[in-house]
Amino acid sequence: MPSASSTNNPPPSGPRRPRGVAMFFVLGIVAVMVPLLLLFSMIGSSQAKQAMHFHDRITTEAIAWSALEAGIARLQASGGADLVSGSLSEVDYQFSLNPTGTGMASQALFNVFARSQKGPFTYIYLTVCEQIPRSPLAPADPNPVITHDFWGTVQNYDITQAFDCVAIANARGADYLEWERTVTYEQDRTDAEYRAALLGKASGLPPEVAANWSAIVDELARQKAVLTP
């Protein structure tokens, strides 16, 4: 495009040269490079963000588990019902020992809730602990503690609130009822019946699983729940 000066002066002799061609290319190149640069920096930063998200999710699981271990250690050393918090690997955790009664062998029963949170990620474990009284013959030994039925969730409950603890216990209870139904199903069948029922499912299996299904059924039958006197 002619500039203001060229309109005021007569054009030079010979072929007319486009003006500002180089600057046009520079601007064009910059116009291409800037979005590319932005895209690259976005890839780098989003990748770093995703890696940190994974780190936070896995770490909350590991720290929630550690909180549970801390709760169990407290019961072994005769710790009572309490809510304790702390932090590990820069991740906050809490555990609470909620007494639920006394068992048939005079053992104290607890629901242990353990929670950790980092950023938007939460992990909560619930387990049942049985704290067995110390033997009078070895009063210095820690209390034996039996733990069972570990259950986990990534939902953001507040374990300091009784209402949320009840909601966690109810959610676990629904899963636990389903577990009991499968145990009853196994107990009510003979080995042969259970094996036949499982082998009958082979036609609905993906080929990868069907290839070893017979050996898998052998193992399932070996581990089948049985009624104990």
Binding site: G20, F40, I43, T59, A70, L88, S89
Partner: protein, 155 residues
């Protein structure tokens, strides 16, 4: 014939363009290098997170008294530690155990060897044990470290 004065201006523009481009491209090229390094870094961070979580899970199967300090141990060509070596076994006896060696798991071996990935344990206290799992690696000539602290109680 006298050259029109505009010719010189165009050459000047081109020279200016080259200077501008050189000034612009050189730092930009480094930005692309930074992006590549960020992706590699995130890859190594994710790997370290997985490795430390793996060790934390192994601690739950180890005898409580066997959970003690451990000096830096390489994953590639490392001694048999039941955590990373042997890593896999497609067969039915110890003779088919696969360790992280150039002969048995070449791709994984090269990957871990490239970054010189190692792990160590630092154990403090008792009931529960406070275990610091330390993963170290070398990235672009720099020593990198990731650590995860976990409790393990006696069962």
């Amino acid at each position: 014939m006298r050259l029109p004065s505009r010719r010189g201006v165009t050459l000047l523009e081109v020279i200016m363009a080259m200077v501008i481009l050189t000034i612009a491209i050189v730092p930009m090229l480094d930005v692309f290098g930074v992006t590549g390094r960020t992706v590699a870094k995130s890859q190594n961070l994710s790997l370290a997170v997985g490795l430390s979580h793996k060790i934390a899970q192994h601690l739950l199967t180890m005898p409580y008294d066997a959970i003690v300090d451990k000096a830096e141990t390489p994953l590639a060509d490392g001694a048999d530690d039941q955590v990373f070596n042997p890593l896999e076994n497609p067969g039915t006896s110890q003779t088919t155990n696969r360790r992280i060696t150039a002969a048995q798991l070449p791709e994984l071996h090269a990957f871990l060897k490239k970054y010189s990935v190692r792990y160590a344990l630092d154990v403090v206290g008792d009931a529960p044990k406070d275990v610091k799992i330390i993963i170290t690696w070398i990235e672009q000539g720099r020593n990198m470290l990731y650590s995860l602290r976990v409790y393990v109680s006696r069962r």
